[in-house]
């Protein structure tokens, strides 16, 4: 593309009825999405949910089976990747090994015949604080530095839309935090539209203005991070974004502002405005940190739901808070996060406890309880290791 000029600012991205089928499977069922100009949008989902495919469709590296892609109101579905005002920060960074850092950053500028490519490349490298390494080759840099070069190489072109494909995945936790903040700052500084794909819910929530949770080729829920967290619409969102305690039961009463659900013989009240279904079998939930732990049966309070007695089956202390697993007969296992207001855990393993929560904090899901996948977020070290391994294997196979 020889426009010779930068996009003035970020443009909005619109996906209309996008579908992508590969031989043998469907990566994206049906996708409608509108990302406003200048926003930081995160596409969050587990591996294989179609989020990377979405990104590649926008970049032009894949062609949609159906649907249209618009950037700034202009249909770019038929355009080749090099014609699109879009740049990508790849998961593997894909820095050209035969060029210096400076030449890598200047590559896009040179292809578009923009004036003073070297000066602009230096400027972009200064933004990511790597100008002193401009003469090095990419393989002489650390992972974090390579990531920043990849970012500089993309933003130096001032694309209308910047795509980030899990760019922080290869970094260690501390560097990740640092890069998250830097990315956010840079986005605000340059005012581009960012589309960030990630499977890390914390990353999505801390960085993005809007998060879309994707599962099995569809967007399950979209909204501001707080909204998604406090009021998840489906069991998938409730468990992918943090952890949730979910209960299923029939609605036994409803008023204009609340519904009452019978869960294992106990009456649980949920605000009607926070429940998606108001009749029949419903699934309701509560976040673990909203639960209070009691060592004796709490007094009846119309403003609180209570449940118990249950038995503590596991206590894990993590400094700031303590996680309790409580087995309540006929309900199942509840997770409680309690702030460490006292020294050490308040209840020991095997102890009898009750839990209660403010009825305002409950939420009701949209899912049919019948097809509700009954799973708790598995956050043990072993399963995280297994997931890491699986994703590594798929990554290696791609190579």
């Amino acid at each position: 593309m020889t426009t010779g000029a930068f996009a003035a600012q970020g443009a909005d991205l619109e996906l209309v009825g996008i579908q992508k089928r590969f031989p043998g499977f469907t990566a994206i069922e049906h996708l409608d999405l509108k990302i406003p100009a200048g926003s930081f949008f995160a596409l969050l989902g587990p591996s294989g949910c179609g989020k990377t495919t979405t990104l590649r469709l926008v970049a032009g590296l894949e062609e949609p089976t159906a649907g249209r892609i618009l950037i700034g109101g202009k249909d770019i579905t038929g355009q080749k990747p090099y014609q699109r005002p879009v740049n990508t920060v790849f998961q593997s960074y894909a820095l050209f090994p035969h060029m210096t850092v400076l030449e890598n950053v200047a590559f896009g500028l040179r292809r578009r015949r923009i004036d003073e490519p070297v000066a602009k490349a230096h400027e972009a490298l200064r933004l990511v604080e790597l100008d002193h390494l401009a003469a090095r080759k990419p393989q002489q840099l650390s992972g974090g530095q390579q990531q920043r070069v990849a970012l500089a190489r993309a933003i130096v072109n001032r694309p209308a839309l910047l795509l980030l494909d899990e760019p922080l995945g290869a970094l260690d936790l501390k560097l990740r935090r640092q890069m998250q903040l830097e990315l956010k700052t840079i986005q605000e500084e340059v005012g581009l539209t960012f589309l960030h794909v990630t499977h890390d819910q914390e990353e999505a929530m801390t960085m993005a203005d809007t998060v879309a949770v994707m599962n099995k080729g569809r967007i399950e829920q979209m909204g501001a991070p707080e909204e998604l967290y406090e009021l998840p619409k489906t069991a998938f969102v409730a468990n992918f974004l943090g952890q949730s305690n979910l209960f299923t039961g029939p609605v036994i009463g409803s008023t204009s502002d609340a519904i009452a659900v019978a869960v294992a013989g106990q009456r649980i009240v949920v605000p009607a405005a926070r429940a998606h279904r108001h009749a029949g079998e419903v699934t309701i939930g509560i976040r673990p940190e909203k639960l209070s732990l009691h060592l004796s049966a709490p007094a009846d309070d119309p403003a609180r739901n209570s449940m118990g007695p249950g038995r503590v089956i596991d206590v894990s202390f993590s400094g700031v808070s303590t996680q309790y697993l409580i087995n309540v007969p006929r309900v199942g296992t509840l997770i409680v996060f309690a702030q460490n207001m006292a020294f050490g855990p308040v209840a020991g393993e095997g102890g009898e406890v009750w839990v209660s929560w403010d009825i305002k904090h409950g939420f009701g899901l949209e899912d049919e309880p019948g097809d509700l996948p009954k799973f708790d977020a598995d956050t043990t070290t072993r399963s995280i290791a297994a997931q890491r391994r699986a994703s590594l294997i798929t990554e290696l196979e791609e190579v």
Partner: protein, 304 residues
């Protein structure tokens, strides 16, 4: 493939901490002895021969040790056209082989990645000519391209060739033979680099506004330089010294003799051993100089 090792430079070895171990030296001993015996000895003998002078009262072909450096001046003045022609032919054949092999290697190594079976089948086809002696294959080409052959008579019939023109015996026939015989040596190292080519770099290139032609020029070609360097060396070096294709018994003629033919004639027919040895030394030196400049300029160290 073994050919990839050809392009490996010392950059990787430098990073390994050096440790002197008597066991390592012991293990190197057979190799060192082998090289001393079968490489260094003939080389020294060749060097000594190249300075020999004819024996004063001897027969034709009898020489004694001397330091007659005029031998070199003599052969250069006598055979300069042959020397130049050798390198010219080798250069043209190398370029042609590269032009034919690159698309072939790209197809096998990149396009056919999705079908590993087809990939190996095509590789076997590239190597298949090696199952027949290259003398026989070159002789076969002599037949195919002879004046009475179907191809030449048809070309003459449609007036694409003059009625009294020949193909065998011309420089074009020699270059054709060289190109044909060295295509597998070019294709295999190219294949080994292209097979490992990370396509994500190409995607990154097109994402950064590079037209496919630009991506090829600025990303694909530089990344396949190790293969190009290895392939061109494996073609150029033996082609410059080749004496089969240019031989009058095969595709060559009087105007297309290469330095290899001259060396052969001097050694076996004229029995002018010093001249043949001097020519060999010149050939070797010139190739060494060309190759070292080429490898230096190609600068492929960081890609390995």
């Amino acid at each position: 493939m073994a050919f990839a090792a050809f392009a490996t430079t010392t950059s990787e070895a430098e990073q390994v901490p050096r440790r002197k171990s008597p066991v390592a030296l012991l293990l190197l001993l057979p190799g060192i002895l082998y090289l001393m015996l079968f490489f260094l000895t003939p080389l020294v003998s060749l060097l000594l021969t190249s300075f020999q002078a004819p024996s004063e009262f001897g027969d034709v072909g009898q020489y004694s040790y001397a330091f007659r450096w005029e031998n070199y001046v003599q052969v250069v003045t006598d055979y300069l056209p042959h020397i130049l022609r050798s390198f010219g032919f080798a250069l043209i054949a190398t370029v042609l082989a590269l032009v034919f092999s690159y698309p072939l290697a790209y197809f096998i190594g990149v396009t056919a990645r999705r079908w590993p079976l087809a990939q190996s089948l095509m590789l076997v086809l590239v190597i298949a000519p090696f199952f027949i002696s290259f003398l026989l294959r070159t002789l076969a080409w002599k037949q195919i391209l002879s004046d009475e052959s179907f191809i030449i008579t048809s070309l003459k019939a449609v007036a694409l060739m003059a009625p009294d023109a020949h193909f065998t015996g011309t420089p074009a026939a020699v270059i054709f033979g060289l190109t044909y015989n060295f295509i597998p040596f070019m294709t295999l190292p190219l294949y080994t680099t292209l097979e490992r080519l990370d396509l994500r770099y190409l995607e990154a290139g097109s994402d950064l506004y590079a037209h496919p032609v630009e991506v090829f020029r600025r990303v694909t070609i530089p990344l396949s330089m190790p293969g190009i360097v290895a392939g061109t060396l494996l073609t150029f070096i033996p082609a410059a010294g080749d004496y089969v294709n240019a031989s009058r018994d095969f595709l060559g003629g009087p105007d297309s003799q290469m330095i290899g033919n001259v060396i052969e004639a001097n050694f076996l027919v004229l029995q002018n051993y010093p001249a043949a040895a001097a020519l060999s030394i010149i050939l070797m030196t010139v190739i060494l100089i060309i190759v070292s400049i080429y490898v230096k300029r190609a600068g492929t160290e960081e890609l390995l």
